[in-house]
Structure formats: structure tokens, C-alpha cells
Amino acid sequence: MADDRPSQPGLAATLSLPAIAAVSLGFLLPVLWLARMSVNPTEPGGVLREGWTANQYVELFTDSFYAELTLASLQMSATATLCALLVGYPIALFLYRLESRWKTLLVLLAICPLLVSGVVRAYGWIVILGDAGWINSMLRGAGLIDRPIRLVNNHIGVTIGLTESLLPYMTLSLLAGLGRLDRGLEEAARTLGASPLRTFLRITLPLSLPAVVLGSTICFMLAVSAFVTPRLLGGGRVLLLATEIYEQALVTLNWPLAAAIAMALLALFSVVLVASGRLQRRVAE
């Protein structure tokens, strides 16, 4: 009598080789390279030497500037994630409940900004938010303001741009995570005497929390690592960890410092992931 389950561990290992190779090449190797780079010494101007030093990490943890950058990154990412959640949640809920043949089309519409590069979208925002942009022109035309409001080249512009760039990811992850939500549960709550608001607070919201945690985690990480939007919409005023990595790597040429900041960011991501995993389990109860 043969066991009907394949009992060939060797085969399983062989089959997972491509995946192991892909992860090693695509993630592990670059991270190891980054880790090694972060302990190379540098000389003024960004001259790179091969060797060993902890200088970059000492600078990272002693210069209060990096603490400020980290705080600014966390703040900006949390704000943009929250904004994306507030905008994306109703959209996702609407799409999730939609029983129409247009549903697929509308879902595609919600995620189609992903088809346009972030650079192009950022320039689009400049056109909308700039001093001579649509919003300021409209407000001026309506006589509400006489000087343009600064909506871009500052934190407001970056928050708006980041929120918009996160929105498709938020909507998609919320949609994917709303699986436990059954229309019948809301109807049951209604028949039991719950008003629409209480139904939302007691049934819809708690049941969608796993989706909220999932979407927020993904968006938070994307926001922390985003540098194109802050650069294009920040007017040089919005200094974040990601833009600092970009500047150290591609302007001031201090690769080891850029690598050290990237490693710190990686550590931050691990913390966020673990925290999110815990939270996920708690809200899924």
C-alpha cells in the first residue's frame, strides 16, 4: 500500500530552488552588499575606501539630525497613510459591495493611477496645486483669497501627492482584506435594531480591521520609502529618510552613509512588520 502523499523531500527542495534563487538574488544579495557597504570608511567629498568602520552608524545615532529625519519620515508616512485610509476606505467598501457588471471596470479605474509613473503624477499635482494652478486660480476667481495659498513645495504638497500615490495600494489591499465582511451581517444588525451608524461601528468596522491593518502597513512602508514624490513636491523643504538616502547616494556620494541609513530603514521596516503582524492577529480575533 503506497502512501498517496508524495514523500520526496528532495523533490520539494528542488522545486523551491528557483524561488530561493530569486529571493537570494533579488533581496538577500543586495541587502548583504548594502550591509557591507555601510561599514566602509569614507574620506571628505565621498571618497570610498574598502575597510571597516562604524563611523556611519555612530553618526546616525549621535547626530540629532537623523532622529529628526526619522521623526519627520514617520510623521509624514503616518499622515499620508491615514489620509489614504480615510479616502480609500469608503471607495473600497463601495467597490466591495457593488453588485454590478461595471464592478471590474470600476476596480480597474481605482487602480489605474498605477499605470502612470509617479513622476508624471507628481507633475500633475504641481499643475493643480501650484501658485498659478487650478485650485489657487479657482479660489482667486471666486474672490476667496487675494494671494495664492502655498499648496506645493512644502509638506502639504508632499502629503497630498503621497496620499494620492498610496491610494490605489490602499484600495486594493482593503478590497482584498474585506473578505470576511458579509452584507448579511450588516442586515442582521439592522434587523436587530442597529442604526446605520451603529451597524458601521459595531459590525462593518471591526470586521474590516484586518484589512485596515494590512492596507495601512503596506502603505506606511511604501510611504517611508517614497522619495520621488517628496523630492518633486517638497520644494527641497521636506527632508525625509528616503530623500536623505537619495542625496547621500546620488548627490554627495557618501555611499556608506546612504547604506547605513538604508539599513536603519530596513530595521525600522522589520519593527513595523512585527508590530503589524501582532496587531493583525489581535484584530482578527
Binding site: D131, A132, G235, G236, V251
Partner: protein
Amino acid sequence: MLVRAAFALLALLASTSIARAQSGEITVMAYAGIFQDKYTEAVIKPFMAKFPAVKVNYFSSGNSAQMLGTLRTQRSSPQVDVAILDVSVSNVGNKEGIFAKLDPAKVPSLKELHPMAIVPDGFGPAVTFDHWVLVYDTEKVKPAPTGLADLWDPRLKGQIGLSAMPNIQGIAATVLASKLAGEDFKTSIDGAIKRLKDLGPSVQTFDPQPDGYTLILGNTLTVASGWNARAQLYHDDSKGRLGVVFPKEGSVFQINTINHVAGSKNAEAATAFIEYALGREAQKRFTETMFYAPTNAKAEISPAAINRTAASAENMAKMIPLDWDWVTTIRDSWNNRWRREVIAGR
């Protein structure tokens, strides 16, 4: 070990994008965009006409630091023979051994170069001089600004694009602001930082994207900092709407050097190209095409072109000499002061 291995791997990957330098073939790496168009037209094509046996490939890159990054990854097997990039970055390459020294016997034009063009220890010299300018919208800013000092005019509030540090335009702006404050930037930039901090709220953007010229012509800004060569091209393209001002406080050179990559596969052709690029003929043609000042003092430039560069005697006298090697030692501290005091406004 690991770094070496990673470099080798990355080089392997990068090599697919660059045509392998064959005999009679060299690859020149320099800026993308309009620089590529003009340099190909003014220097590379005439060179190939003169040396029909050598084929020159142009490998374009976004900025100097990216070029150095590419060269770092190709260390074990360089795919680029000649690189044109900013002197602050080429200095790093010289110290890292990425670039080779030139043989004065094979590059006779070295003797004709302007003293400021010479890089110590026989490394690649300056091939272009550019300088920091103010650009403005001639339709909106009247009277025309004459220098950095005019940026504090309240009428310009919110309409200024000023490239901040670590961009090297920010270094030039610091130097000029120091001069305005009557201090020696080599000892203190306190006065400069104080003045720039006052200017901060008037600045629309400290990082004009894609650049100040475009933002002025797109009605987002009315005045911005810039580099002369590109500004002159935008001046012509906009039929004079974009005005270019050589600041009355003076200006600072942005220097591009031409460098021979160490381990280049075709050293002979590469050296021949460098000699040609530094020669009077190429220097004259590129200046007249793109308004970079010539580094070859003997190049005979048409008066019309020379007046639009820093090379005129009058402008040359106003240039503030800046030792870029020294700049690398103070760049981080200047950068921090910009970030904490000028940009953050504290």
C-alpha cells in the same frame, strides 16, 4: 571580498547596456539631454570625421554622482573610456584610482589651458567652464535683477527658485551671499546664512523640478538660480523671454573635467579624444554651440559667443575662485546649516 564579488556581478549586469569597447571604438560618458545633443554635434562628430577609424559611443547619465557610481561598479572591467563630469566628483574618482593620469606628451593641448583648468597631479583637466547665474522672466520682472541682492525684493516673494545645498548651485549661492555680507567664506558663512535665512520664506522652491528655467517659462517662478550655458540656450529657445544675469556680486565656476578611465580598453583612442576635446577647434565650436566658456585659453571664440560666457575679460575678473577640493571638506557643515537654518527656517 563580498564587495568585490558584488561589484563584479553588477558590472556584469551593467556591461549588457554598454557596447563593449572594441578596437577603434571608445565610449564617452557625459550628461544626458541637451548636453548630449550639443556635444555630439560640436565635438564627437567632428572628431569621428577627423579620425574615421575610431567610433565614439555616447553613454549618457543623469548627473556626475551617477557617473561615478557607474564607474565604481565597473572597476574590474571598465566599459567607459572617457568621462566628462563635475570636478568635485572627478576629484573623488581621482582619489579612488578610478581615473588615470594623462601623459602630457600625448595631450599637448594641456599647455594651452587656462590656469584654473589645470587639475593637480596630472589628472584630467577642465573641459568646460560654466558659472552660476540668475535667470528671470523678462516679461514679469521689471526692472531686471542685477544680482543676488535683488532677491530680497518683497515683490519677488514666493516666486523664487533657489537650488539649495547639497546641489553645487547652493555652494555658489553661499559664496555669493558671503560676499554680499562682506565676509570671507573661507572663515565664516554666518552672514551668508543669516541673509539666506531671511530669504527662506520668499523662496517657492529650494529644489526646482525639473529646473528653474522650465518653471519660469511655465509661470511657476519669476526668478531662479541657474547655470549660464543652459540658461543661454533657454534664452534663445524662449526668444529672449528668459533673461540671464551675470550677478553683480560676481560668480563661481562650475567645472566639468574630462577624464581617462583607468584600465580603459582603448587608451590610445581615448587619449586622442581627450586631446581633441581640449584643442582649440573643439573648444571654440562647443562654446559657440552651448555657451560653456572655453578652458583652452588659445581658442579663438567669436565675440558674440564670448560675451555670453564667463570668458570675457570683464566677467573673468569678477569670478570668485573656489578650490573644489577644499569645498569637499566643508560641504557637510555648510549643508547642515542650510538644512537647519535656511530651509527649516530656524
